[in-house]
Subunit: 149 residues, 2 copies
């Protein structure tokens, strides 16, 4: 099945295209591209959020919704579950994926870490969009400690 | 499974984003956007072409390759086979899909026909890219007689 590859290839092209477009090489142009990617992710996440939960149970609690994202949504998009979900029980959740598919093809090395944000923006938006459809306003940020090897 | 929806949503966003970008409203701007979409499709098609045939038989004849595109590639991307494949046996092939997924959500009506090319450019590129990987230089164009209902 090539679906997973299709999404990854398309994502890669999209990032490359947006980077080529906002050719302003300064931080302003990059930030703009990240915003555009995040916005696309948001709208795709919203649409997926509307579609997925019909097949699952109704959600009552915030934690259930987060668990749903870590399992069902992640599997639908990346064919794997999130590796861990932690919370401080005050509205902050930390979702960890140790082999994030959109980064896994990158070579490891600190010098590539700066390139990581552009491969994360779409997915941040995707989560924010899905949460938005499920009734939660959120702020989603990503951080990369080390690249998957 | 949400993969199919994911690709469709992402494709829709990509078209919308590129249309918003090349804000030159004249035919020049639109042509540019179509070229960009076609180019993205081409590179995704190339990558898919490299990936898919490993699972299938080696191809000898042009017609075999075209059949492969109509079956395996189309299923991988759209979860359905192409409806028909015709040829004049002189190097021209006509592939027909009566319910093309990227158009099927559009309302039918002649006034929407002009909007169709932007939803076809990526897929034209995809076919051209896959053919290129499989060793065939081609020219792929699309035409829509009526929108799927």
């Amino acid at each position: 099945m090539a679906d997973a590859a299709l999404f990854e290839f398309l994502h890669t092209e999209m990032v490359a295209e947006l980077w080529a477009h906002h050719s302003d090489p300064g931080p302003g142009g990059q930030k703009m591209s990240l915003c555009v990617l995040e916005g696309m992710g948001f709208r795709v996440g919203q649409a997926l959020g509307e579609r997925l939960p019909q097949e699952t149970l109704a959600f009552r609690e915030e934690l259930d919704i987060l668990k749903f994202l870590c399992k069902d949504l992640w599997v639908a998009v990346f064919q794997k579950q999130m590796d861990s979900l932690r919370t401080n029980h005050q509205g902050t959740y930390v979702l960890q994926d140790n082999s994030f598919p959109l980064l896994i093809r990158m070579a490891s090395g600190l010098q590539y870490l700066e390139e990581a944000p552009k491969f994360l923006a779409f997915t941040c938006g995707l989560l924010r969009g899905a949460l938005s459809t499920l009734g939660i306003k959120s702020l989603v940020t990503a951080s990369v400690a080390s690249l998957p090897t």
